[in-house]
Protein backbone atom coordinates (compact mmCIF):
# COMPACT_ATOMS: atom_id res chain seq x y z
CA UNK A 1 0.00 0.00 0.00
CA UNK A 2 1.19 3.51 -0.81
CA UNK A 3 0.91 6.36 1.70
CA UNK A 4 -0.95 9.48 0.64
CA UNK A 5 0.30 11.57 3.53
CA UNK A 6 3.16 13.74 2.33
CA UNK A 7 1.94 13.88 -1.27
CA UNK A 8 1.78 17.34 -2.79
CA UNK A 9 -1.34 18.51 -4.58
CA UNK A 10 0.20 17.81 -7.97
CA UNK A 11 1.17 14.31 -6.86
CA UNK A 12 -2.36 13.72 -5.60
CA UNK A 13 -3.71 14.92 -8.96
CA UNK A 14 -1.53 12.37 -10.75
CA UNK A 15 -2.85 9.66 -8.45
CA UNK A 16 -6.52 10.49 -8.96
CA UNK A 17 -5.98 10.82 -12.71
CA UNK A 18 -4.38 7.38 -12.80
CA UNK A 19 -7.31 5.93 -10.87
CA UNK A 20 -9.86 7.56 -13.17
CA UNK A 21 -11.29 9.78 -10.43
CA UNK A 22 -12.42 13.39 -10.98
CA UNK A 23 -9.48 15.80 -10.68
CA UNK A 24 -11.13 17.80 -7.86
CA UNK A 25 -10.78 14.67 -5.73
CA UNK A 26 -7.12 15.60 -5.24
CA UNK A 27 -8.13 18.84 -3.50
CA UNK A 28 -10.62 16.92 -1.38
CA UNK A 29 -7.98 14.44 -0.28
CA UNK A 30 -5.52 17.25 0.52
CA UNK A 31 -8.24 19.02 2.47
CA UNK A 32 -9.02 15.92 4.50
CA UNK A 33 -5.41 15.09 5.28
CA UNK A 34 -3.90 18.51 5.82
CA UNK A 35 -6.86 20.55 7.15
CA UNK A 36 -9.13 18.02 8.82
CA UNK A 37 -6.35 15.62 9.80
CA UNK A 38 -8.13 12.51 8.58
CA UNK A 39 -6.30 9.34 9.50
CA UNK A 40 -8.03 7.03 7.03
CA UNK A 41 -9.57 7.18 3.57
CA UNK A 42 -12.88 6.13 5.13
CA UNK A 43 -13.07 9.46 6.95
CA UNK A 44 -13.06 11.36 3.65
CA UNK A 45 -16.84 11.38 3.53
CA UNK A 46 -17.31 13.86 0.70
CA UNK A 47 -15.71 11.32 -1.64
CA UNK A 48 -18.21 8.80 -2.94
CA UNK A 49 -18.10 5.37 -1.32
CA UNK A 50 -17.04 3.88 -4.64
CA UNK A 51 -14.16 6.35 -5.05
CA UNK A 52 -13.04 5.70 -1.49
CA UNK A 53 -12.98 1.99 -2.27
CA UNK A 54 -10.95 2.57 -5.42
CA UNK A 55 -8.41 4.59 -3.43
CA UNK A 56 -8.36 2.20 -0.50
CA UNK A 57 -7.43 -0.69 -2.78
CA UNK A 58 -3.97 0.80 -3.30
CA UNK A 59 -3.54 3.64 -0.84
CA UNK A 60 -3.62 4.45 2.83
CA UNK A 61 -3.21 7.79 4.60
CA UNK A 62 -0.13 6.27 6.17
CA UNK A 63 0.37 7.99 9.51
CA UNK A 64 2.66 6.28 12.00
CA UNK A 65 2.44 6.76 15.75
CA UNK A 66 5.70 7.20 17.66
CA UNK A 67 7.15 4.00 19.07
CA UNK A 68 8.42 5.62 22.21
CA UNK A 69 8.60 8.94 24.03
CA UNK A 70 11.18 10.13 26.56
CA UNK A 71 10.48 13.19 28.68
CA UNK A 72 13.11 15.53 30.06
CA UNK A 73 12.95 17.24 33.43
CA UNK A 74 12.69 20.52 31.50
CA UNK A 75 9.58 19.38 29.61
CA UNK A 76 11.31 18.52 26.34
CA UNK A 77 10.07 15.29 24.78
CA UNK A 78 11.94 13.04 22.40
CA UNK A 79 9.85 10.90 20.09
CA UNK A 80 11.13 7.77 18.37
CA UNK A 81 9.57 6.78 15.03
CA UNK A 82 10.01 3.69 12.94
CA UNK A 83 10.35 4.51 9.24
CA UNK A 84 10.11 1.78 6.65
CA UNK A 85 10.62 -1.63 8.15
CA UNK A 86 13.89 -1.20 10.00
CA UNK A 87 15.00 2.40 10.30
CA UNK A 88 14.48 4.73 13.21
CA UNK A 89 14.44 8.48 13.58
CA UNK A 90 13.89 10.92 16.40
CA UNK A 91 12.08 14.22 16.77
CA UNK A 92 12.31 16.62 19.73
CA UNK A 93 9.36 18.63 21.04
CA UNK A 94 10.56 21.68 22.96
CA UNK A 95 7.85 23.64 24.82
CA UNK A 96 8.54 27.15 26.09
CA UNK A 97 6.34 29.74 27.75
CA UNK A 98 5.39 31.52 24.52
CA UNK A 99 6.01 28.88 21.85
CA UNK A 100 6.53 25.19 21.21
CA UNK A 101 9.17 24.10 18.74
CA UNK A 102 9.38 20.76 17.02
CA UNK A 103 12.80 19.69 15.77
CA UNK A 104 12.32 17.20 12.93
CA UNK A 105 14.66 14.77 11.21
CA UNK A 106 15.09 14.69 7.45
CA UNK A 107 17.19 11.53 7.14
CA UNK A 108 17.77 8.35 9.06
CA UNK A 109 21.41 8.82 10.05
CA UNK A 110 23.59 11.28 8.19
CA UNK A 111 26.39 11.24 5.63
CA UNK A 112 28.15 14.42 6.68
CA UNK A 113 30.41 13.04 9.41
CA UNK A 114 30.69 16.13 11.63
CA UNK A 115 33.08 15.51 14.52
CA UNK A 116 30.73 16.90 17.17
CA UNK A 117 27.51 15.16 16.18
CA UNK A 118 26.15 11.91 17.58
CA UNK A 119 24.03 11.23 14.49
CA UNK A 120 27.21 11.02 12.39
CA UNK A 121 28.31 7.98 14.35
CA UNK A 122 25.46 5.85 13.07
CA UNK A 123 26.28 6.42 9.41
CA UNK A 124 23.55 6.88 6.85
CA UNK A 125 20.51 4.63 6.51
CA UNK A 126 18.29 6.59 4.14
CA UNK A 127 16.33 9.67 3.17
CA UNK A 128 12.93 10.33 4.67
CA UNK A 129 9.97 10.78 2.34
CA UNK A 130 8.03 14.04 2.71
CA UNK A 131 5.29 12.11 4.53
CA UNK A 132 7.80 10.68 7.00
CA UNK A 133 9.08 14.18 7.74
CA UNK A 134 5.57 15.57 8.26
CA UNK A 135 4.44 12.53 10.21
CA UNK A 136 6.81 13.64 13.00
CA UNK A 137 4.58 16.69 13.41
CA UNK A 138 1.21 15.14 12.71
CA UNK A 139 1.55 12.07 14.90
CA UNK A 140 2.68 13.51 18.22
CA UNK A 141 0.04 14.30 20.85
CA UNK A 142 1.19 17.95 20.94
CA UNK A 143 0.50 18.36 17.21
CA UNK A 144 -1.86 21.29 17.64
CA UNK A 145 0.40 23.05 20.13
CA UNK A 146 3.47 23.23 17.89
CA UNK A 147 4.14 26.81 16.83
CA UNK A 148 7.53 26.46 15.15
CA UNK A 149 9.29 23.77 13.17
CA UNK A 150 13.03 23.50 12.77
CA UNK A 151 14.71 21.04 10.42
CA UNK A 152 17.59 20.44 12.79
CA UNK A 153 17.11 16.82 13.80
CA UNK A 154 18.86 13.81 12.32
CA UNK A 155 20.32 14.22 8.85
CA UNK A 156 21.31 17.03 6.52
CA UNK A 157 18.08 18.48 5.09
CA UNK A 158 19.73 19.71 1.91
CA UNK A 159 21.08 16.24 1.20
CA UNK A 160 17.41 15.26 0.89
CA UNK A 161 16.28 18.44 -0.78
CA UNK A 162 13.50 17.03 -2.93
CA UNK A 163 11.57 15.59 0.01
CA UNK A 164 12.32 18.52 2.29
CA UNK A 165 10.98 20.91 -0.35
CA UNK A 166 7.84 18.82 -0.77
CA UNK A 167 7.28 18.84 2.98
CA UNK A 168 7.71 22.63 3.04
CA UNK A 169 5.26 23.02 0.16
CA UNK A 170 2.66 21.01 2.09
CA UNK A 171 3.34 22.91 5.32
CA UNK A 172 3.06 26.37 3.76
CA UNK A 173 0.47 25.98 0.98
CA UNK A 174 -3.12 27.08 1.35
CA UNK A 175 -4.21 23.64 0.14
CA UNK A 176 -1.80 22.16 2.68
CA UNK A 177 -1.37 23.04 6.32
CA UNK A 178 -1.24 26.78 5.75
CA UNK A 179 1.70 27.48 8.04
CA UNK A 180 3.53 30.78 7.82
CA UNK A 181 7.01 30.34 6.37
CA UNK A 182 8.21 32.56 9.20
CA UNK A 183 7.62 29.74 11.65
CA UNK A 184 9.86 27.32 9.79
CA UNK A 185 13.65 27.16 9.80
CA UNK A 186 15.78 24.76 7.81
CA UNK A 187 19.35 24.25 8.94
CA UNK A 188 22.18 23.15 6.67
CA UNK A 189 25.90 22.64 6.87
CA UNK A 190 26.15 24.56 3.62
CA UNK A 191 25.43 22.57 0.44
CA UNK A 192 25.62 25.49 -1.96
CA UNK A 193 23.52 24.27 -4.92
CA UNK A 194 20.69 23.31 -2.57
CA UNK A 195 20.94 26.62 -0.68
CA UNK A 196 20.35 28.48 -3.95
CA UNK A 197 17.29 26.40 -4.77
CA UNK A 198 15.88 26.74 -1.25
CA UNK A 199 16.30 30.52 -1.17
CA UNK A 200 14.64 30.98 -4.54
CA UNK A 201 11.77 28.54 -4.04
CA UNK A 202 10.76 29.09 -0.39
CA UNK A 203 10.37 31.97 2.07
CA UNK A 204 11.35 29.97 5.15
CA UNK A 205 14.19 30.96 7.43
CA UNK A 206 17.67 29.59 6.81
CA UNK A 207 20.26 28.54 9.37
CA UNK A 208 23.84 27.65 8.52
CA UNK A 209 26.10 25.53 10.73
CA UNK A 210 29.20 27.68 10.87
CA UNK A 211 31.15 26.69 14.03
CA UNK A 212 34.40 28.41 13.04
CA UNK A 213 35.32 31.01 10.46
CA UNK A 214 38.73 29.43 9.79
CA UNK A 215 39.16 26.97 6.95
CA UNK A 216 41.58 24.58 8.69
CA UNK A 217 39.49 24.37 11.84
CA UNK A 218 36.24 23.89 10.00
CA UNK A 219 37.75 21.13 7.90
CA UNK A 220 38.72 19.37 11.12
CA UNK A 221 35.18 19.68 12.51
CA UNK A 222 33.18 19.23 9.31
CA UNK A 223 34.44 17.26 6.30
CA UNK A 224 32.02 19.20 4.09
CA UNK A 225 34.49 22.10 4.27
CA UNK A 226 36.55 20.17 1.72
CA UNK A 227 33.67 20.38 -0.73
CA UNK A 228 31.90 23.64 0.09
CA UNK A 229 34.23 25.98 2.01
CA UNK A 230 32.39 28.35 4.32
CA UNK A 231 33.84 31.37 2.50
CA UNK A 232 32.10 30.17 -0.68
CA UNK A 233 28.86 29.61 1.25
CA UNK A 234 28.97 33.15 2.63
CA UNK A 235 29.81 34.60 -0.79
CA UNK A 236 26.72 32.85 -2.18
CA UNK A 237 24.51 34.10 0.67
CA UNK A 238 25.63 37.68 0.04
CA UNK A 239 23.86 37.54 -3.33
CA UNK A 240 20.49 37.44 -1.56
CA UNK A 241 18.60 39.75 0.76
CA UNK A 242 17.66 38.64 4.25
CA UNK A 243 15.64 40.46 6.89
CA UNK A 244 13.56 39.75 9.98
CA UNK A 245 10.89 38.42 7.62
CA UNK A 246 13.31 35.98 6.05
CA UNK A 247 15.92 35.36 8.70
CA UNK A 248 19.45 34.13 8.14
CA UNK A 249 21.16 32.75 11.21
CA UNK A 250 24.45 31.02 11.86
CA UNK A 251 24.79 28.26 14.40
CA UNK A 252 27.99 28.28 16.33
CA UNK A 253 28.78 25.52 18.81
CA UNK A 254 31.23 26.77 21.42
CA UNK A 255 34.23 24.46 21.84
CA UNK A 256 36.59 25.14 24.71
CA UNK A 257 39.89 26.55 23.44
CA UNK A 258 39.10 25.76 19.84
CA UNK A 259 36.75 28.38 18.41
CA UNK A 260 35.99 30.71 21.32
CA UNK A 261 38.71 33.36 21.19
CA UNK A 262 38.70 37.06 20.28
CA UNK A 263 40.55 36.04 17.10
CA UNK A 264 37.44 34.09 16.11
CA UNK A 265 35.20 37.06 16.84
CA UNK A 266 37.35 39.26 14.63
CA UNK A 267 37.27 36.81 11.75
CA UNK A 268 33.53 36.20 12.13
CA UNK A 269 32.89 39.94 11.91
CA UNK A 270 35.03 40.14 8.78
CA UNK A 271 33.41 37.08 7.19
CA UNK A 272 29.81 38.13 7.86
CA UNK A 273 30.32 41.78 7.00
CA UNK A 274 27.49 42.93 4.72
CA UNK A 275 25.05 40.18 5.68
CA UNK A 276 21.90 40.83 7.68
CA UNK A 277 22.09 37.90 10.02
CA UNK A 278 22.31 36.70 13.58
CA UNK A 279 24.53 34.20 15.37
CA UNK A 280 23.15 31.56 17.66
CA UNK A 281 25.75 30.30 20.14
CA UNK A 282 25.23 26.72 21.29
CA UNK A 283 26.81 24.88 24.18
CA UNK A 284 28.49 21.68 23.06
CA UNK A 285 26.65 18.68 24.43
CA UNK A 286 29.30 16.04 24.99
CA UNK A 287 29.19 12.79 23.06
CA UNK A 288 31.06 9.69 24.25
CA UNK A 289 34.85 9.69 23.76
CA UNK A 290 34.82 13.09 22.09
CA UNK A 291 37.99 15.16 22.29
CA UNK A 292 35.84 18.29 22.34
CA UNK A 293 34.52 20.14 25.38
CA UNK A 294 32.07 22.97 25.72
CA UNK A 295 33.34 26.44 26.47
CA UNK A 296 32.68 27.69 29.99
CA UNK A 297 29.57 29.86 30.29
CA UNK A 298 31.63 32.90 31.16
CA UNK A 299 33.49 32.68 27.85
CA UNK A 300 30.27 32.09 25.92
CA UNK A 301 28.83 35.29 27.43
CA UNK A 302 32.02 37.20 26.58
CA UNK A 303 31.90 35.86 23.03
CA UNK A 304 28.29 36.97 22.68
CA UNK A 305 29.10 40.41 24.07
CA UNK A 306 32.06 40.89 21.75
CA UNK A 307 29.99 39.96 18.71
CA UNK A 308 27.11 42.16 19.86
CA UNK A 309 29.50 45.08 20.33
CA UNK A 310 30.57 44.60 16.72
CA UNK A 311 26.96 44.86 15.58
CA UNK A 312 26.10 41.19 15.12
CA UNK A 313 22.91 40.22 16.91
CA UNK A 314 23.96 37.18 18.95
CA UNK A 315 21.93 34.88 21.15
CA UNK A 316 22.79 31.88 23.30
CA UNK A 317 20.59 28.86 22.72
CA UNK A 318 19.18 27.33 25.87
CA UNK A 319 20.20 23.69 26.25
CA UNK A 320 17.04 21.62 26.34
CA UNK A 321 16.49 17.91 26.76
CA UNK A 322 20.09 17.03 27.52
CA UNK A 323 19.08 14.43 30.13
CA UNK A 324 17.18 12.43 27.48
CA UNK A 325 19.78 12.89 24.74
CA UNK A 326 17.46 15.23 22.87
CA UNK A 327 19.67 18.30 22.88
CA UNK A 328 21.42 19.68 19.83
CA UNK A 329 23.80 17.13 18.30
CA UNK A 330 22.71 14.22 20.47
CA UNK A 331 19.99 12.55 18.39
CA UNK A 332 20.95 9.00 17.44
CA UNK A 333 19.23 5.71 16.78
CA UNK A 334 22.46 3.78 16.31
CA UNK A 335 21.70 1.23 19.03
CA UNK A 336 18.32 0.43 17.49
CA UNK A 337 19.78 0.17 13.99
CA UNK A 338 22.41 -2.28 15.22
CA UNK A 339 19.82 -4.28 17.14
CA UNK A 340 17.74 -4.48 13.97
CA UNK A 341 20.69 -5.85 12.00
CA UNK A 342 21.28 -8.73 14.43
Amino acid sequence: MVSLYGKTLSELKSIVDAEGLPSFTANQIADWMYHHHAESIDEMTNLSKKNREILAAKYIVGLTKPERVSESADGTKKYLFLVGSNRYIEAAYIPESDRATLCVSSQSGCKMGCLFCMTARQGFQGNLAAGEILNQLRSIPEFTRVTNIVYMGMGEPFDNLENVMKSLEILTSKWGMGWSARRITVSTIGLIPAIKQYIVQTSCHLAISLHTPFDEERRMLMPIQNVYPIADVIAELKKYRFSDHRRLSFEYIMFDGLNDTPRHVKELVRLLNGLTCRINLIRFHPIPNSPLHTSPDERIFQFRDLLTAKGIFTTIRASRGQDIQAACGLLSTKALQEKGRK
Binding site: G113, R121, E156, A194, P229, L292
Partner: protein, 221 residues
Protein backbone atom coordinates in the same frame (compact mmCIF):
# COMPACT_ATOMS: atom_id res chain seq x y z
CA UNK B 1 18.04 16.33 -5.30
CA UNK B 2 21.06 18.01 -6.83
CA UNK B 3 20.44 19.45 -10.26
CA UNK B 4 22.58 20.51 -13.18
CA UNK B 5 21.00 24.01 -13.18
CA UNK B 6 23.67 25.45 -10.94
CA UNK B 7 26.65 23.49 -12.27
CA UNK B 8 28.62 24.55 -15.32
CA UNK B 9 29.77 21.59 -17.35
CA UNK B 10 31.15 20.55 -20.68
CA UNK B 11 30.46 17.54 -22.84
CA UNK B 12 33.34 15.11 -23.03
CA UNK B 13 33.75 11.96 -25.03
CA UNK B 14 34.51 8.76 -23.22
CA UNK B 15 37.96 7.41 -24.11
CA UNK B 16 37.58 4.13 -22.24
CA UNK B 17 35.39 2.51 -19.62
CA UNK B 18 37.22 -0.55 -18.38
CA UNK B 19 35.95 -3.17 -15.94
CA UNK B 20 38.71 -3.80 -13.39
CA UNK B 21 36.83 -6.00 -10.92
CA UNK B 22 33.27 -7.33 -10.66
CA UNK B 23 31.09 -4.21 -10.76
CA UNK B 24 34.07 -1.82 -10.69
CA UNK B 25 35.27 0.33 -13.59
CA UNK B 26 37.78 2.97 -14.53
CA UNK B 27 36.29 5.62 -16.79
CA UNK B 28 38.67 7.82 -18.79
CA UNK B 29 38.13 11.01 -20.73
CA UNK B 30 40.31 13.88 -21.92
CA UNK B 31 41.59 16.37 -19.36
CA UNK B 32 40.38 19.80 -20.44
CA UNK B 33 41.15 21.75 -17.29
CA UNK B 34 43.84 21.50 -14.66
CA UNK B 35 43.03 20.12 -11.24
CA UNK B 36 44.70 19.58 -7.91
CA UNK B 37 45.10 16.01 -6.71
CA UNK B 38 42.32 15.28 -4.24
CA UNK B 39 39.69 17.23 -6.14
CA UNK B 40 36.40 15.79 -7.36
CA UNK B 41 34.06 16.53 -10.22
CA UNK B 42 30.43 15.98 -11.08
CA UNK B 43 29.52 13.54 -13.83
CA UNK B 44 26.25 13.17 -15.65
CA UNK B 45 24.57 11.69 -18.65
CA UNK B 46 21.49 13.88 -18.87
CA UNK B 47 20.24 17.08 -17.25
CA UNK B 48 17.26 15.07 -16.01
CA UNK B 49 19.44 12.83 -13.90
CA UNK B 50 21.04 14.09 -10.74
CA UNK B 51 24.79 14.78 -11.07
CA UNK B 52 27.09 12.47 -9.12
CA UNK B 53 30.36 13.46 -7.54
CA UNK B 54 33.52 11.42 -7.99
CA UNK B 55 37.10 11.97 -6.86
CA UNK B 56 39.63 12.11 -9.64
CA UNK B 57 41.96 9.10 -9.54
CA UNK B 58 44.54 10.16 -12.18
CA UNK B 59 47.64 12.26 -11.71
CA UNK B 60 47.72 16.01 -12.23
CA UNK B 61 50.07 15.67 -15.20
CA UNK B 62 48.21 12.90 -17.00
CA UNK B 63 46.52 13.77 -20.28
CA UNK B 64 43.37 11.96 -19.28
CA UNK B 65 41.10 12.08 -16.26
CA UNK B 66 40.41 8.71 -14.61
CA UNK B 67 37.38 8.05 -12.47
CA UNK B 68 37.06 4.93 -10.36
CA UNK B 69 33.47 3.89 -9.73
CA UNK B 70 31.42 0.89 -8.75
CA UNK B 71 28.05 -0.12 -10.05
CA UNK B 72 25.51 0.22 -7.26
CA UNK B 73 22.97 -2.64 -7.09
CA UNK B 74 20.03 -0.20 -6.99
CA UNK B 75 21.81 2.65 -8.78
CA UNK B 76 20.23 3.78 -12.01
CA UNK B 77 23.08 6.17 -12.75
CA UNK B 78 26.00 3.81 -12.26
CA UNK B 79 24.18 1.18 -14.32
CA UNK B 80 24.01 3.59 -17.26
CA UNK B 81 27.58 4.75 -16.61
CA UNK B 82 28.83 1.19 -16.84
CA UNK B 83 27.29 0.87 -20.31
CA UNK B 84 29.13 3.88 -21.76
CA UNK B 85 31.43 3.07 -24.64
CA UNK B 86 34.37 4.95 -26.18
CA UNK B 87 33.02 7.97 -28.05
CA UNK B 88 29.86 8.30 -25.95
CA UNK B 89 29.05 11.71 -24.45
CA UNK B 90 29.51 12.49 -20.79
CA UNK B 91 28.67 15.66 -18.83
CA UNK B 92 31.69 16.76 -16.79
CA UNK B 93 31.85 19.67 -14.33
CA UNK B 94 34.94 21.66 -13.47
CA UNK B 95 37.09 20.06 -10.77
CA UNK B 96 36.27 21.29 -7.27
CA UNK B 97 37.01 20.59 -3.63
CA UNK B 98 39.71 21.26 -1.08
CA UNK B 99 40.78 17.80 -0.02
CA UNK B 100 44.09 18.79 -1.47
CA UNK B 101 46.37 20.17 1.20
CA UNK B 102 48.95 17.52 1.98
CA UNK B 103 51.46 17.56 4.80
CA UNK B 104 54.64 15.47 4.55
CA UNK B 105 54.60 11.74 5.35
CA UNK B 106 50.86 11.30 5.11
CA UNK B 107 48.93 8.22 6.15
CA UNK B 108 46.10 7.53 3.72
CA UNK B 109 43.26 5.39 5.02
CA UNK B 110 40.62 4.40 2.50
CA UNK B 111 37.80 1.96 1.98
CA UNK B 112 36.68 0.77 -1.44
CA UNK B 113 36.71 3.49 -4.09
CA UNK B 114 37.89 5.91 -1.39
CA UNK B 115 41.37 5.08 -2.66
CA UNK B 116 40.80 7.36 -5.69
CA UNK B 117 41.94 10.76 -4.31
CA UNK B 118 45.00 9.14 -2.76
CA UNK B 119 45.93 7.53 -6.08
CA UNK B 120 45.76 10.97 -7.64
CA UNK B 121 48.06 12.38 -4.96
CA UNK B 122 50.52 9.49 -5.36
CA UNK B 123 50.48 9.61 -9.16
CA UNK B 124 51.06 13.36 -8.98
CA UNK B 125 54.20 12.79 -6.93
CA UNK B 126 52.76 14.74 -4.00
CA UNK B 127 52.76 12.08 -1.31
CA UNK B 128 56.35 11.16 -0.62
CA UNK B 129 56.76 8.82 2.33
CA UNK B 130 53.08 7.91 2.33
CA UNK B 131 51.55 4.90 3.99
CA UNK B 132 48.35 3.59 2.40
CA UNK B 133 45.92 1.47 4.38
CA UNK B 134 43.14 0.21 2.13
CA UNK B 135 40.09 -1.77 3.15
CA UNK B 136 38.01 -4.02 0.90
CA UNK B 137 35.72 -6.99 1.28
CA UNK B 138 37.47 -9.24 -1.29
CA UNK B 139 40.93 -9.26 -2.94
CA UNK B 140 39.52 -8.11 -6.32
CA UNK B 141 38.53 -4.80 -4.79
CA UNK B 142 42.04 -3.63 -3.92
CA UNK B 143 42.05 -1.27 -6.87
CA UNK B 144 45.44 -0.17 -8.22
CA UNK B 145 47.11 -2.73 -5.97
CA UNK B 146 49.85 -3.50 -8.48
CA UNK B 147 50.96 0.13 -8.66
CA UNK B 148 50.65 0.56 -4.93
CA UNK B 149 52.66 -2.57 -4.18
CA UNK B 150 55.38 -1.51 -6.59
CA UNK B 151 55.65 2.03 -5.34
CA UNK B 152 54.98 1.64 -1.62
CA UNK B 153 56.05 -1.90 -0.80
CA UNK B 154 55.44 -2.59 2.87
CA UNK B 155 53.90 0.84 3.30
CA UNK B 156 50.88 -0.48 1.42
CA UNK B 157 48.62 -2.35 3.82
CA UNK B 158 45.53 -4.20 2.66
CA UNK B 159 42.75 -5.02 5.08
CA UNK B 160 40.41 -7.61 3.68
CA UNK B 161 37.28 -8.30 5.67
CA UNK B 162 36.27 -11.51 3.86
CA UNK B 163 39.60 -13.07 2.92
CA UNK B 164 41.35 -16.14 4.13
CA UNK B 165 44.56 -15.46 6.03
CA UNK B 166 47.44 -14.88 3.60
CA UNK B 167 49.00 -11.76 2.21
CA UNK B 168 46.33 -9.48 3.65
CA UNK B 169 45.37 -8.38 7.12
CA UNK B 170 42.07 -10.19 7.65
CA UNK B 171 39.59 -7.75 9.07
CA UNK B 172 38.24 -4.28 8.54
CA UNK B 173 40.37 -1.15 8.30
CA UNK B 174 39.05 -0.05 11.67
CA UNK B 175 40.15 -3.34 13.26
CA UNK B 176 43.61 -2.81 11.85
CA UNK B 177 43.91 0.77 13.06
CA UNK B 178 42.86 -0.25 16.57
CA UNK B 179 45.88 -2.50 16.94
CA UNK B 180 48.34 -0.96 14.44
CA UNK B 181 51.73 -0.92 16.13
CA UNK B 182 53.13 1.47 13.52
CA UNK B 183 50.67 4.24 14.33
CA UNK B 184 52.57 7.50 14.74
CA UNK B 185 50.60 10.29 16.35
CA UNK B 186 52.82 12.90 14.74
CA UNK B 187 51.88 12.04 11.17
CA UNK B 188 48.97 13.58 9.26
CA UNK B 189 46.04 11.26 8.55
CA UNK B 190 43.74 11.45 5.55
CA UNK B 191 40.55 9.42 5.45
CA UNK B 192 38.24 8.69 2.55
CA UNK B 193 35.29 6.33 2.43
CA UNK B 194 31.76 5.94 3.66
CA UNK B 195 30.64 8.12 6.56
CA UNK B 196 30.57 5.14 8.91
CA UNK B 197 34.11 4.15 8.04
CA UNK B 198 35.42 7.70 8.25
CA UNK B 199 33.70 8.49 11.54
CA UNK B 200 34.74 5.22 13.17
CA UNK B 201 38.33 5.49 11.96
CA UNK B 202 38.52 9.09 13.12
CA UNK B 203 37.27 8.12 16.58
CA UNK B 204 39.84 5.33 16.82
CA UNK B 205 42.69 7.63 15.76
CA UNK B 206 41.59 10.19 18.34
CA UNK B 207 41.36 7.51 21.04
CA UNK B 208 44.91 6.47 20.15
CA UNK B 209 46.22 9.98 20.66
CA UNK B 210 46.21 11.48 17.17
CA UNK B 211 45.30 15.18 17.48
CA UNK B 212 42.09 16.12 15.69
CA UNK B 213 44.05 18.79 13.85
CA UNK B 214 46.05 15.99 12.16
CA UNK B 215 42.98 14.24 10.75
CA UNK B 216 41.46 15.31 7.44
CA UNK B 217 38.41 13.51 6.11
CA UNK B 218 36.64 13.21 2.79
CA UNK B 219 33.19 11.69 2.76
CA UNK B 220 30.97 10.32 0.03
CA UNK B 221 27.66 12.10 -0.19
Amino acid sequence: MRTWNEISYEIQRVISNTPIAPGAYILKFKKNSTFIAGQALALGISEDIEPRYYSIASGENDDEISILYTEKPDGKFTRILSLLKPGDNLMVSKPFGKFTQLSPFPVFIAAGTGIAPFMSMLLSGKAKGAVVIHGASYPDYFYYSEILLNTLGENYIRCCSRCQPGSFYVGRVTDYIKQWSGLNINRPYYLCGSTEMVVETRDILISRGVPISSINSEIYF
